[in-house]
C-alpha cells in the first residue's frame, strides 16, 4: 500500500534526522539503523526488501562497504540501489572501484534537494 521504503544506515543522528525528514516529506517510509550490523539485520529481516539503502562509510561494528558486500550476496539485495553517503573526496571514491557494490555517491554535507535528486534518479 505504501510508496518506496528506504533504509538509512548512519551513525550520526544529525544525518539520519536530515535524511529522514527529507524522505518523509515526500511520503516515503524510512527505517533507520545506527551501524552496518544493524543495517544488515534490518535489511534481511524486512518482510519486503527495501527499495533503496542509504549508508555511511565509516561506522562502528560494521562499516558501510562490508555491509554492502554482505547485502549484495543475497538475492533480495543483489540489484537494490545502494547510495553511499560520504565526506571522502573523489579520489577515495575511485580507489573503492566499481566492484564495491555502490550504486551512487552522495557527498556530505548535502542539501535535501541533492538527496531528492539522487534518490529519484536511482529509483525511477
Amino acid at each position: 500500500m505504501s510508496g518506496p521504503r528506504i533504509l538509512i544506515v548512519e551513525d550520526s543522528t544529525m544525518v539520519r534526522i536530515t535524511v529522514k525528514r527529507t524522505l518523509l516529506s515526500v511520503d516515503f517510509a524510512v527505517e533507520e539503523a545506527k551501524d552496518g550490523q544493524e543495517g544488515l539485520d534490518k535489511a534481511l529481516q524486512s518482510e519486503q526488501p527495501f527499495d533503496l539503502i542509504l549508508t555511511d562509510l565509516n561506522m562502528p561494528n560494521m562499516d558501510g562497504l562490508t555491509m554492502i558486500q554482505k547485502l549484495r550476496e543475497t538475492e533480495a539485495y543483489a540489484d537494490t540501489p545502494i547510495v553511499m553517503l560520504t565526506t571522502e573526496s573523489g579520489e577515495d571514491k575511485k580507489s573503492m572501484g566499481h566492484n564495491s557494490g555502490i550504486s551512487a555517491w552522495l557527498v556530505k554535507p548535502f542539501q535535501p534537494d541533492s538527496l531528492i535528486e539522487t534518490v529519484g534518479g536511482m529509483l525511477f
Binding site: M1, T13, M14, S25, D27, V30, D51, P109, G120, L123
Partner: protein, 964 residues
Amino acid sequence: MDEELLGEFLTESNENLDSIEQQLMNLETNPDDAELLDSIFRAIHTVKGSCGFLNLTNLERVAHAGENLLSRIRSLKFLVNEDIVSLLLECADAIKQLLEGLADTGQEPNLDHSDLIGRLQVCERFVMGEDVAQGEAPEKSGEAELVEPLAWLVGFEDAVIHALIQAEMLTAADIISAGFAKLKGIEPLTSADALKILGVAKGHVDKPSVETDKTEQAAQQGQVSVEEEPTPASAKADKNEQVAEVKAEVAKPSSPPPAAKKAVAGNDSPAAQQAKRPAASNASVRVDVGLLDELMNQVGELVLTRNSLMQMISASGSMEFMRVGRDVDQITEQLQEQLLRTRMQPIQTIWSSVPRIVRDIGKQLDKKIKVIMEGEDTELDRTILNALKDPLTHIIRNSCDHGIEPHHIRVQQKKPVEGTLHLSAIQESGFILITISDDGGGIDADIIKEKALKMGSLTEEQAAVISPKAALQLIFNAGLSTAEKVTNFSGRGVGMDVVRTEIERVGGSVDIDSTLGRGTSLKIRIPLTLAIISAMVVGCKNQRFAIPQMSVRELLSAPDSSEEWRLIAGQPFYRLRGKLLPILRLKEALLFAEDEKPSGSIVVADIGDRTFGILVDQIFGAEEIVVKPLGVHFQHLNFYGGSTILGDGVVIPIFDCNGLASMVKLSTEAEVAKDYNQGNEEGDLGEQQHALIFMQGEQRFVIPMTLVERLECLEATRIEKTASGEVLQYRGEVIRVLRWGDLLGIGSGIDDPTAQMYCLILSDGGKRMCLQVDQVIDIVEVSFDIKRPSDNPLFLGTTVIQDIATEVVDVFEVVQQADPNWFAQPNDMKKRKILFVEDAQFFRHLVIPVLESMNFSIKTASDGVKACEILNSYQPDLILTDIEMPNMNGYQLAQWISEQPNLQGIPVVALTAQNEIDDESLFSDVISKLDSQELAEHLTKILQRFDIISEQEIGGTNHAITFG
C-alpha cells in the same frame, strides 16, 4: 522512540478518536452533512500524518486506507449508507486498538489488519462507482459515474495535477514509465514533488497485487495498472480489454467521459475542487507577521548564542562537546534557513501589478509596451520586497514614460512599434540581481551632465573628466530629471534619488547603464535578507569590523614587500591583474594611524559601479551575523551600517561599503587609476609632466608635481597660529603654511574648524612647506603649453587642460615669495637630459614622476627603434632603458649605442624587473624596477658616479616621492 513525542501523539490521537464514533453515527443519520464529514476526515488524517513521523507502519496503513475512503466520499459527495459507516467504525476501532497496544508497550503491536484494509479499499472503489462484484456493495449511487484521472494523487495542488494531465500522464503506470528525470522537468513540479508523486504512484501500482492476495474479488489477475476511471460499460467488457479501453478513452481528448472532461478542464468541478482543497488547506497555516518577526529575532539571538557556544567549545578542546556542538550548529543553521524561508516571498508578489501599470500608462500615452518577466519566482525577504515596491514602480514608470519612445519615433528609427520592458531577477550568492531594461531611446549622458552642472551638483572640471557611465549615475542625484516635459507619471524632478535612497536603505545598490537610441537598463543588487547576513570579519588595530559579504568580491594578501603596491600622490594603489585598484587604508580612514607602509590584507569591495580595496590588518573569516541597529549617537556615520555581536560577546560595527567609498575621495583617485589603466598606448610622451589640478573658489589652477612631495587631507585645526605666521606640525617638523587663497588675496574660505583641508606638501632640498588649497581635482599628465603669459608673477601663464583654461602656478616663485632663502643654494645648473626607453605604459607612468622630481628633462621612447630615432638628434646625459621590448630590446639598443661615435660616454642604465640579466657588460649599471624611492636613490648614485651631478645637489633630489 521519543517518549515525549509518543505521549503527545497518543493524547492527541485519543482526543481525535473519542469523538469519531459519535460523529460517524451522526453521519449515518445525516449523510449529507459535509462539515461533519470534514471533521471525521481530519481526525483520521491527523492520525495518519503523525504515524509517518513515528514510523508506525501498521497504524499508518489502517489510517491511510480509512483516510482514502473518507476523502473519496467527501470529494464525490457520496451519501454513506449503514454498511460504510460500520466499516469506518471498524477502522476507528482498529486504530484505537493499535493505539492502546502502543500505549501499553511503547511498541506498535503486531496486529494484522490487512483484511480490514482490503475491505476499506474495495469500499473506496465502490464509492468511486467501480463495479465491484461483491455483496457488500449496495445499489449504485447516481453519482458513481463521476470519475477523474489521478484522483488518487491526494494533497497536491491543482496546478500539479493539471500539469500531469497536460503531459498526458493519466495513470500511475504512465507516471512511473515517465521516470524521475522527465517528471521533475514538468512545470511547476519540484524535484520533491516528482519524487513524492512517483512514490505514491508506485504504491498505487503495487496496491492491486496486495489486494489480489487478500481480497480476491477485488482485482483481476495479470492487471498491471489499475485505472481509477472505469465506466460501467467498460467494467462489463472483457477483462483484458478493460485497461486498454479505459486508457484510450481518457487519453483521447475527443471522447473522455463527461466528468473526466470536467476535471481536466478544470476548476469548476466542485468534486475535483473538494478532493484537493482539504489537503491544501491543511498544508498551510496563516501566521501573524509580527510573530514571524519575533521568531526571527529570537533565532537571531540563537545564532549569536550558538556562535559563542561554538567558540567556547573549540576553546575547550573536548571532542565530545565538539560533536554536540556540531549538531547544535547544524540544527541552528537549518532552523535559521527554514525560518528565513518562511519570510520569503516570490518577487512575483510585487511584479504582478507591473503589466497593469504598463498597460495603463501605455494607453494614456498611446504607446504599445509589452512586458517580459523572468525569474518571477525568485524569493526575497518580505521586508525587502516591501521596500522595493515603490522604487520598482517608479523605475518602471520612468521606463514607459521617458524610456520607450512614442509611436512615430519608433517607426522612424525602424524599431518594432511595440516597446519591450524586460524585468528579470536572478539569485546570485547571497543577493538578488534585479534588472529592469527597456528598448527605448536611452539617456543622453551629456544632457545629464548639463543638468547636473546647472544644478551645481557637478563642477565644470568634474564634467570634463567624468565618464559617460559615471555621468549617468548622476541621475540618482536629487533634483535631476531629464524629461523635457513633466508628465503625470514621472519627471517631476524627484524620484530617482528616492529610488537610490530606498534601495540603499535595505543594503542594496543600484546602477544604471544606457545606450542612446538603444535603451536603458537598471541593475539593482539587493541582499536576500536583512536580519542575518554573511559577513567578512576583519581586524584593524586590534579591533574587529564586519564587511557584508555581498560587497566582498575577493580577498588579497598584500604584504608591504609586494611589488604590486603603487603610491601615486600619497594615495596607495594595488596593481591587481594589470589594473590599479584604489586602496582605502582602514587604519588611516579611522584615524588610528597614518603614514605607515601599506601592508596587510585587501578586501576587494564591489559596490555596483566601482571597485575599491579596503586595506585591513587581518582577515578572520566569514561569519553569519545578526544585524543590530547602531545607537543614535553613531547613526550620522554613514560608513557604518549597523553593529553585531560576535561569538565571544564583543560588539563590532558593520561597515556600509557605499559609505566607505564615499568617505574617501575615491572618485578622483579612481579617475587617476582609470587614466593609468586606460591611457593611450601611444609611446612618445614628449615633454609631458605630471601636474596637479586644484580649485580655489571658482578658479582652477594647475601646479607641476616637481616640488609636490605629498598630498594631505588634514583637519583645519591642525594648522596652528604662531607669531611668525601659520604652521603645521608635520613628520616631527614645524613647517610653514601658505594659504593659496591668501596669496591670491581672495581669502582661504575656511571658517569651519572641523573641515578637511587639502594641503600640498612642497619639498625641496630637505625643506618643506605646506600649501593649502580649496579642493584637489585631479592629477593629470600635461605638457605646459602656455597659451597666454600672465602678469601675476605667481603664474607662468594660462594653459588649456581638458579643454578648460587653467592657470599654471609657478611653484618656484610661490616658494621664493614665501621664503626668499628657500633656494639659497644656487640651482642654476641646466636641466639634465634623460632618455627613458620603456614599452610598458604602466612603468613609464611610474618612473616619469620620479625623474621629473629629480629635475630631469625627459624624453621617452616606447622601444629601441624609437630610441635610436630620437638619439639621432638628441644627446641626453643619461639613457635609462628597459630590457624586454618589442622591435629592438635593451641589449640591442645598448649595443647600437656603443657603436655610435657621438654617443660615447653616455651612461646606459638598464631598468629591469628581472633579477639577473644576460649581459651586464653592455650597461653602465642595472637598476631593478622596485619602488620609486629606491629608483631615485639609485639614479642619484649613478649620476654622481658619472659626475653628472655634484654633491651639493643631492639633497634636492631626495624624497621626491615618498611612500607613506
